[in-house]
């Protein structure tokens, strides 16, 4: 493998096999709507598993899956681990500090070592955009890579579980108006959500944030841009709040938490701008009192905890599809 490693383009098209099946799951961008729908349908069949007395299916028995977390995460890692165990795979968790050595070296060196242990799948989280694609490009042909979040680029399983959650409540996406609120600039979740919504022909996708938290040319991703909650939430069916990191204050992107919450926080008052039956979502972990009021996060329109449970089914679906074992899911 070392001999064949050459730097070059990392096309997202490599996540599909020649006959259009999922080989890696790296980004939503470029995937056909039919494949996204297939993921949602397979996830639907897996969501039954969690409610049965025996919460395991033998689909990935004998497969070895490595959770490669180059960036700390508890929740995402745990749901991937649990999803793998429910599919009867062997799971190893590797938390790899990027500070120990230069990022690139540790990344590809780690791969070389893990490949030697005959793994079948890498679940990758990394602080640099494009890391999952780099790994997918350089792994041995039998290994699948699932992106569990790379820099600001993509977090495709999170986007799929969000769409899954919405579809359960409001099945016709084409009729929906969705608003994503907050730090779009630094959010891989937002980027993947935008691609997922647009691929599935969602009625309208909006982003609401001050200019300091929006990337340049964001409208070219296929979104309507708003700077105020009053206008942006009008007639919206789904409100997705993003987590705001505290360091955005110190880097002069925002004046204060107080002002942010006043202008962009989701409270019962601001939620009133949206449709009366609008759902409230958050990829977690939420900063209560910074981007969302507790009364809304725990309120009747919040589906935040449902998102967490659905994450398991969606991750089981993606893992089994990548390893070519989705057909046996119980219905």
């Amino acid at each position: 493998m070392i001999e064949t490693m050459q730097p070059g383009p990392l096309p997202a098209s490599m996540q599909l096999t020649d006959d259009g099946r999922l080989r890696h799951f790296l980004t939503i961008e470029g995937l056909p709507a039919s494949l996204l729908t297939e993921i949602l349908d397979v996830a639907e069949s897996f969501s039954v598993v969690a409610t049965q007395p025996v919460k395991k299916v033998p689909l990935l028995r004998g497969k070895t899956i490595f959770n490669l977390f180059f960036e700390p995460s508890t929740r995402t890692r745990t749901t991937f681990e649990l999803a793998a165990k429910r599919l009867s795979a062997d799971v190893m968790n590797m938390n790899i500090s990027t500070s120990a050595t230069t990022k690139g070296e540790s990344l590809l060196d780690t791969l070389r070592n893990l490949e030697a242990m005959y793994s079948d799948m890498f679940i990758v989280r990394h602080a640099d955009s494009g890391a999952a694609q780099l790994i997918a490009q350089h792994v041995a042909p039998h290994i699948s890579v699932i992106n569990a979040g790379d820099g600001r680029h993509a977090h495709p399983t999170q986007a799929m579980l969000d769409v899954f959650t919405i579809r359960r409540h409001k099945p016709d996406l084409t009729a929906l108006r969705v608003a994503i609120v907050g730090d779009i600039l630094h959010s891989r979740v937002a980027r993947s959500q935008i691609h997922a919504f647009n691929t599935l022909n969602t009625g309208e996708v909006r982003v609401i944030a001050p200019k300091t938290l929006l990337p340049e040319n964001v409208e070219q991703l296929g979104v309507q841009v708003f700077h105020s909650m009053r206008e942006g939430l009008r007639d919206v069916d789904v409100v997705i709040m993003l987590r705001l990191q505290k360091e955005r204050m110190t880097s002069a992107l925002l004046p204060s938490e107080h002002e942010y919450f006043r202008l962009y926080g989701l409270t019962e008052e601001t939620l009133a701008y949206a449709k009366p039956d609008a759902m409230v979502m958050h990829p977690g972990p939420a900063n209560r009192g910074v981007e969302i009021a507790s009364s809304v996060a725990d309120g009747p329109r919040s589906v935040i905890l449902e998102q967490v449970s659905n994450g398991l089914a969606v991750r089981m679906a993606v893992m089994s599809m990548c390893l070519g074992a989705s057909g046996g899911a119980p219905r």
């Binding site: 383009p9 690139g104 820099g151 964001v218």
Partner: protein
């Protein structure tokens, strides 16, 4: 040795020559261009250049050569050979080596290495501030006596505008050209890709166009204030280029260059996280590329350079933002320049001028970049019809990091002479 190069298509823009004729060299100098040898000239070696182009050796305003400090990437031996094989006979080495070239001893070291290797000429651009730290001036008079062709802080920021003013004023007192890389450090904010559609899609930290224009806008009044002669390096934006052009119309003593890859690649080439297209300044938009191309003939840009940055394999085997910026570009400078002729951006003579006459003028090197009597006998013979495909793995440079792999090129160097010596023959 007396050498005659006969019946070639000589293109020497500095002297207005663009015809089939012959060239005569005595020892290290050109003595005559014309159909007949000068009286009493006894040719010891004759090179038949029928069907070939004969041009001045290329003068490259920016090439990292690995020494001192980055010998694991490249060395003066490997890079000089790569240069002469590609028709480049003079290489300008920026001071961002390790240690930085901020004292005469470093210039002497590089000259000594140049002499040991004995292939290309190497000219040094010395540091404007000690260690490129941006706070204390270097001993510019001593650096000039040691042979530097200019001074630069490369991409390192100045501690304050006052230091920038002093540095330019001091350089001006010693008649040294200041090479400015226009990048506002804070606005660039450790970005790695042009701020636009691709950066937004890929979620990579971006460098706005304003990082370049703000830096140019910052320096123009200081240039006016100090009277320093300034060369703006590696322009990447159409707007930045327009500012330089307007300043020039206003009479400021400024020149500018662009690196060849900015005339062919855009942000879209990095769209698949291709680390070979990670450059600094970043590849810009289609509109910038078109503006830079147009500026080549509209008094906007004087020279085309390689901005050669050879890297070891591992430097590019990492996630995009973590890779080192730069392209191994010596071996594509002349091919890309000739491609501008094929694409009818420039005439052959205009194209050759951008890599010979004009960079030599920026260096104030009267004996380089042309084929007039008395000039250094740095001559390149090119087979203009040779067609080949770029294969970076076969580069003579130790850096194989080029995004031009697979590009078809027309025109290949067959002979390179430096100071009247045949240093390369294919």
């Amino acid at each position: 040795m007396n050498i005659s190069i006969v019946n070639g298509h000589i293109v020497d823009p500095a002297n207005g020559i663009d015809e089939i004729t012959s060239l005569y060299i005595a020892d290290d100098r050109i003595v005559h261009v014309g159909a007949e040898a000068p009286a009493g000239f006894d040719s010891e070696r004759e090179i038949d250049a029928s069907g070939r182009l004969v041009i001045p050796g290329l003068v490259d305003l920016a090439a990292r050569l690995g020494e001192p400090g980055f010998e694991y990437k490249a060395d003066i031996g490997s890079e000089s050979l790569a240069a002469v094989s590609a028709g480049i006979t003079t290489l300008c080495c920026p001071p961002d080596t390790s240690p930085a070239i901020d004292a005469p001893a470093e210039i002497e070291f590089i000259e000594q290495r140049q002499d040991e290797v004995g292939l290309a000429r190497i000219r040094v651009i010395a540091a404007l501030t000690k260690g490129l730290r941006g706070d204390q001036l270097t001993e510019m008079a001593a650096l000039k006596e040691a042979g530097c062709v200019g001074v630069s802080n490369v991409l390192a920021p100045f501690a304050s505008s006052q230091v920038a003013r002093s540095a330019l004023a001091y350089a001006a007192s010693h008649d040294l050209t200041v090479f400015i890389h226009p990048e506002d450090h804070e606005l660039a904010n450790n970005g790695c890709i042009h701020e636009g559609e691709v950066a937004t899609r890929l979620g990579l930290p971006p460098v706005p166009e304003a990082a370049e224009t703000a830096a140019i806008g910052h320096f123009l009044p200081i240039i006016k204030l100090t009277g320093a002669r300034v060369h703006f390096c590696r322009l990447s934006t159409g707007e930045g280029m327009n500012m330089v052009r307007r300043a020039r119309i206003d009479g400021l003593p400024v020149t500018a260059d662009v690196c060849a890859h900015q005339l062919f690649l855009t942000e879209m080439d990095a769209a698949d996280f291709n680390p070979l297209c990670h450059t600094r300044p970043p590849l810009r938009t289609q509109r910038d590329k078109a503006a830079l191309r147009a500026a080549l003939t509209q008094n906007g840009i004087d020279a085309i350079c390689s901005d050669h940055q050879p890297h070891e394999l591992d430097a590019k085997l990492a996630p995009f933002a973590a890779t080192e910026p730069g392209i191994s570009a010596l071996e594509t400078l002349l091919p890309l320049t000739l491609r501008l002729v094929e694409e009818e951006v420039l005439t052959l003579s205009e194209a050759i001028a951008k890599v010979t006459r004009d960079p030599a003028r920026i260096l104030g090197a009267a004996e380089l970049g042309h084929l007039g009597a008395g000039a250094a006998a740095d001559v390149v013979i090119v087979d203009p019809e040779a067609e080949w495909e770029c294969a970076p793995r076969r580069f003579l440079s130790r850096g194989k990091n080029s995004p031009f792999g697979g590009w078809p090129f027309r025109g290949a160097v067959t002979h390179t002479l430096v100071g009247g010596e045949l240093v390369y023959q294919r």
